[in-house]
Amino acid sequence: MFPKRSPKVTIDYSKCGDGGKVDPRECTKCLRACDPAVFIIHESPNMPLDPIDPKFWRITAVWLSLCTRCMKCVEVCPVGAISVSG
């Protein structure tokens, strides 16, 4: 009765995004590596807002049901911030 659970893709924001060491706008490796384009880049919530030109960005895996667990994002991430489970 219940649909199949999607994989869980978690991103460690202490390693990437939110104005930390890695700016996802510069890196974009996971965004490009993912064939079904599961990830989205967006401005960080709960950070000082600049409505015209936001400075803090992070990446979230949004389209999880399309994830094939190919692990290409995990391999390509230079700071090891992505983990896939489930």
């Binding site: 659970r5 890196c27 490009r32 384009a37 401005e43 919530p45 015209i52 999880l64």
Partner: protein, 274 residues
């Protein structure tokens, strides 16, 4: 094609500048934002849930086509479009689109791939709104284009394999012609992967002339919708007209003049299916 839907007067009546500024300044958060308690994160799973899934789908369709006075810009209410062949895009830009016309970085490719591709044509009030947001404004390139320049750019994108599509934002105000790719395009993603009616198919469907087709298969690589397949034993390509959006992009790859668009209405099985 109703000229009124493109006019600056309509935009003024609807107070579009404030609405579109609110929508565009935080467009990237649209899938993260909770709408009626649910964000789009893992939308595929949520839509398949019993009962909840059906309510979500109903609510999403209501939002996408909303003409209500209370619609919210940050949710992209009333924002949907239709695929069009290059010929129709040229007519719109040549005659209907309101000045100024700009070409800016594509929102969808930026969100999905972190890529800045200069290929999104916006016009009317929306141009002024986007010009105030530096992340969408191309460096070292002309932003405001004349009608002829815009048509030339559109043709360039179409030949590359990008699908032209025209957008309400919000309905009934029309202010954008995009050059989309699947799965990067947010509209095509929701339509193709989740069956939400964010983008409608064109009024046409692709037809292959079996006598002219040489079976080279160049058109197959152009199709964003996997609607064309090469059948080696037949020595020609076949088109799945249920998948075909009628964008006409594949024609650019054909060197044998074997492809043409036919009105969708001519196919009994496709009548009313957009």
């Amino acid at each position: 094609m109703n000229a009124k839907n493109y006019s600056n007067e309509l935009a003024k009546d609807m107070n579009m500048e404030a609405y579109l500024t609110e929508q565009w300044k935080a467009f990237e958060t649209i899938y993260i934002r909770k709408i009626a308690g649910f964000s789009s994160i893992d939308l595929g799973y949520k839509l398949q849930l019993p009962i909840i899934g059906r309510v979500l789908r109903w609510n999403a369709e209501k939002m996408i086509h909303s003409e209500s006075k209370n619609r919210k810009a940050v949710r992209g209410d009333g924002h949907f479009g239709q695929v069009i062949p290059l010929e129709e895009a040229k007519i719109i830009i040549g005659n209907l689109a309101a000045e100024p016309i700009i070409e800016n970085y594509c929102m969808c490719r930026w969100m999905q791939r972190g890529m800045k591709e200069r290929c999104c044509i916006n016009f009317g009030v929306l141009s002024g709104v986007i010009e105030k947001l530096p992340r969408f404004i191309p460096q070292n390139a002309k932003v405001r284009l004349s009608r002829d320049e815009t048509i030339a750019r559109l043709e360039e994108h179409n030949r590359k394999g990008y699908v032209a599509s025209v957008w309400f934002q919000p309905v009934p105000y029309i202010n954008a012609i995009c050059s989309c790719e699947s799965p990067e395009c947010g509209g095509l993603r929701l339509r193709n992967d989740f069956g939400l009616n964010t983008v409608y198919k064109a009024e046409y469907v692709m037809n292959v002339n079996p006598d002219k087709c040489q079976g080279c298969g160049s058109c197959v690589s152009m199709c964003q919708f996997s609607a064309i397949r090469l059948i080696p034993s037949l020595g020609r390509v076949i088109v799945d007209i249920n998948k075909c959006f009628g964008c006409g992009v594949c024609r650019h790859a054909c060197e044998h003049d074997a492809m043409n668009l036919l009105p969708r209405d001519q196919f009994l099985g496709l009548r009313g299916q957009y």
